[in-house]
Symmetry: D2
């Protein structure tokens, strides 16, 4: 049997056709290197307009781990640490990239990918006296690695505790499009810019070939940021490659339309799987969902669909991760739900 | 007056049209992420065939500084250093990226961008006794930052001293195409694979959007290299972007044809400038040339051409850097030579 | 009321008088610097004899955090991590010193300061696939930060799992004397040398002014270790200061006698406190004990004794830490027990 | 023939007897650890009085390399570098310790160990544009590694250029006593405190067992410095060991008297060697001198005296380094000069 569709991640295809077309149309323009080109400037202005913060600065890098490395290394002094949920990408899936920059990640227990002001306070209280690291930043991701999102009030709570404790608030937006277009989201880009110190707008997982836009909202954190990018190997000679893509994504609503499509495909999967009587590991309204299925069913699905087996729940049931994207087609969703229905009936 | 042409660098344009076409044609194929895709595998096989070394391993990264960081950090223990010419990219223009990984760069005096076995020996002799760093690698670039190239015998001499002193020999091939297609080069990719421990084949400066292929020729240096890429933020989610481009460059002779074109454009500039009576800072046969011109002439040229002013020679004369590329047109060369002739007449 | 005695730690006094005398007697001998002196050589030979391992190498450094930094940085490649109990000194009280060297500490839950082979296996099983750090070492301390010790069979179990999983086993011996002279210990220095890859023999907390002897039991881990010491700022110009002290501690049984005395003082405290009806946080047979006392009693004790308040147990009771040392006098123990008895009666 | 005397360095003996006596007299006082003891506080106050800067902060560490690591790592952001003479200890003899903290050392040519404002300016001018490191500190040592000293006007010139270029000025005072008591010095400790941002007062090479007092003259550089010490493994459990020694050295003029003695012994050697017709590599008035002698003479001297052969001058002559100290006796100087006279006669 042939593999019908991959629900492995949101970067299985190339790029949205408009991105490729933009690269072609701009191909012969001679531009300065290293992000000093006109496209990067234009994209930065577009983003600053969308976030309603003219004094922000915007930098483009290649990927999420690179963004996290560069931002955190720029924010922290050698003895300072970052607080993060235990499910955070920086806490697990970046191969110790943050520690390689010299900084400890203080993890807090979290099942749904989120962190609360109380947890931040507890970590701060445990780290006093000069013999431990000094927590100086809080890492959140939106949407989280578990598909959940932060409501505006939750982010306001974190912003408040961070201000009180003199912590930077940093938001990993690898899947920010999916978060902001979630049916449950009440956050805007302008809210984000007001509430967090640094965040990035992820495009790799939302239709671009590669690219994340790092936004530094506070002027005092901006000087020399480019040195950090350069020194970590993140400054592309053809920086235009990133600028052109972001111009295309933000010159109208393409960025949000692609993310909304991914969410809708996930939503259809959630509804269909729920209708078949299954539950989920986390209450996701974004493009990553974690249905809990019998292992025998999972084994059959694995023959024809690509996805990650996430976490064993009990002797018989296991949570899997399904990811939809801008490129996911209705047919793929239909096929998956049909096959799941068939396998359930056979069980 | 409008800027006619940029000779600033070899990454002012987008990509060769065949590259863009390949991205379009492969766009909808669903592929695993992080370089585990079919295109990266295919590109690696093609390169291993070209270098005639089936036991080499090939990894794709985004840029030259990133390649240098990752390779050197993987080769050196904390107290070990790398020997390099004072003109080396890692010694100047990477904003201390190598030092950020914890390693000293031992520089040797060099006017033409090259290093000799005698210089390597001298550095080794100066670093004994346990209170200094321990040199463990030699960095060369081909073509060099000064446009010059290593002949096969020169590289053999370096390989020999490295073996004798237990040093790794690493070659930065940001402009390897230009070096190997130089009319004076007697080196092949297979020679390289035999003589050096690690090298990279640069594509960013030879027609790709971005991408360098790191080749580790010795099996004992290969395990876990991918961890270094991951941990330094160099593993692209859509690794296919690099694989597709290298497949296109190496499935026939596109890589070499593009480099040869760049060299031919530079050669025409050299001949024309020489005919006008000017000399050069270094004897380049590649796509970077360093003519020495009167400052008044340079001022006029700067109005209509983009290029770097390199080094003041004396009170009146200064060396500039002109870079040609796969995208440089005969018309641009003609225009530059005509304007230079005009300005000389006017002087 | 005047402070009668500090039970804060085992480094409140200067040094055992024999140490000071040895420094005086050797004072005018002219010796080479940086640990190349005759005393360091002699001390290394003495230690190699005691551990019955002539092929070990011995290096002297100033303190425990320094030893941990240097040893772990020498053992681990950039993407490798160390597994440790959550109570480990490196996990909490070294201000992120291990992370500063670039390495993640993978912590496992532990109440009594110890780690089990099953916990090591679980961490290894969770870290596969190339997107996480790669665990490569296990950190244990003996005695632990919680006053407990490893029995020979426990250490054999850890050595076995480490061999199986290709992990280095490293033992922090800041209080090794106290561990080995515990009435429950069945371990010898020779056992240690056979079971672990690297360990250190702590003297700062056992009668010396400062000094830890790092023992590398396996020849393949020994080359260039001195470079790590030098480069981390750990190589003392007057290395003799460390050598002289270790000669004095190991030329007879002074090292063990001092540790045994500290244990005996702690044992008397344990017996007296138990007799008064109190229990303990951990079952310690070494010089750190953790009695659980009513908060009102603690408040009174704090007026006249120095000690750390460790962990709140419930609404009324809290564990404190009492540390005895080579310098603790019977009178101090008597006084403490008397006062505790008085305060209990008054409650 | 037996070795008569070592002129290898100024740390061949133990400590001045008053230091040992002070350790003995204070031995049983119970003190808090990690530099929070009364002796460290007292020593800090004494030093702040001597430098006439009540708002300075003083910290004690174990050695010079450790001081350099901690100070520079605390001053520099990841992409910033330190400018130093090519003869600087940090540029050669610290095994890449500064690079290990992630920072490049920009070296300037220097024969006599000193750096000029013009050289600082030149380095700054070469490092602009965002692709190189950003120089942010200047490293000087006084006395220098070549035995020379900075006059007040020279240090004022450096302070001025540093202020102008926004650079920190850091002074390595491993041999500060020797510098300040040089017959040619017009500098006081108070001058130093006024002119440089951070410096350290070295005691390891001036009569102590170990210890350097780091002085941070500017309040804005002081917060959290202790974290850097802790995290680099420099915070001694028995911090009292450093405090007690500095109290002894600074409670009267012992520190300066010891240094003056070392200088006087060196001065006698210089006069005697000059009288024999030999010249010197550098014009030293401190305790390190570099006479240039015939190789045959050196060979004979090496049989009975310990010293370093420094630099070959020509076919026949070589500079050696002779170091005197607080412990050098007139007899050793007499003997050396007598033997040199004898060997010269025999030549």
């Amino acid at each position: 049997m042939q593999m019908k569709h991959l629900f492995l991640d949101d970067y299985s295809e190339g790029a949205h056709p408009r991105i490729l077309k933009a690269l072609e149309e701009t191909n012969w323009s001679q531009e300065p290197g290293y992000g000093d080109d006109g496209f990067c400037r234009q994209a930065a202005e577009m983003i600053k307009a969308k976030i309603e913060n003219p004094s922000a600065s915007v930098h483009f890098v290649s990927g999420g781990t690179q963004a996290n490395i560069i931002v955190l290394a720029s924010l922290l002094k050698p003895y300072e640490s970052v607080i993060a949920p235990q499910t955070a990408h920086i806490a697990i899936h970046e191969a110790g990239a943050i520690e390689l920059t010299g900084h400890k990640v203080n993890v807090v227990a979290s099942k749904n990918g989120k962190i609360t002001p109380e947890q931040v306070t507890a970590i701060c209280d445990e780290h006093t006296g000069g013999h431990t690291v000094l927590p100086k930043a809080v890492f959140v991701s939106n949407s989280t690695e578990m598909g959940t999102i932060y409501k505006k009030s939750e982010l306001e709570g974190l912003a408040e505790i961070c201000q009180q404790k003199h912590l930077f608030l940093y938001l990993d937006g690898a899947r920010l499009g999916s978060a902001l277009t979630s049916i449950e989201s009440d956050l805007s880009l302008a809210d984000l810019s007001r509430l967090v110190d640094v965040f990035y707008i992820g495009a790799t997982k939302n239709g671009a070939l590669l690219g994340e836009a790092v936004v530094i909202t506070r002027p005092e954190l901006q000087p020399d940021f480019r040195y950090h990018i350069k020194q970590r190997g993140g400054l592309l000679a053809k920086g235009r490659l990133l600028g052109i893509q972001f111009v295309e994504l933000f010159r109208d609503n393409l960025y949000f339309n692609l993310a909304r499509h991914a969410n809708e495909m996930a939503c259809r999967l959630v509804q269909g799987i729920t209708a078949l009587g299954y539950s989920f590991l986390t209450p996701s309204t974004t493009n990553q969902i974690f249905p809990i299925l019998p292992e025998s069913t999972i084994t059959k699905l694995q023959q024809i669909y690509g996805f990650y087996v996430w976490e064993k729940m009990d002797r018989e049931d296991t949570a899997i991760r399904l990811v939809t994207s801008w490129a996911t087609k209705d047919e793929a969703v239909d096929a998956f739900l049909n096959d799941l229905r068939t396998f359930r009936g056979a069980a």
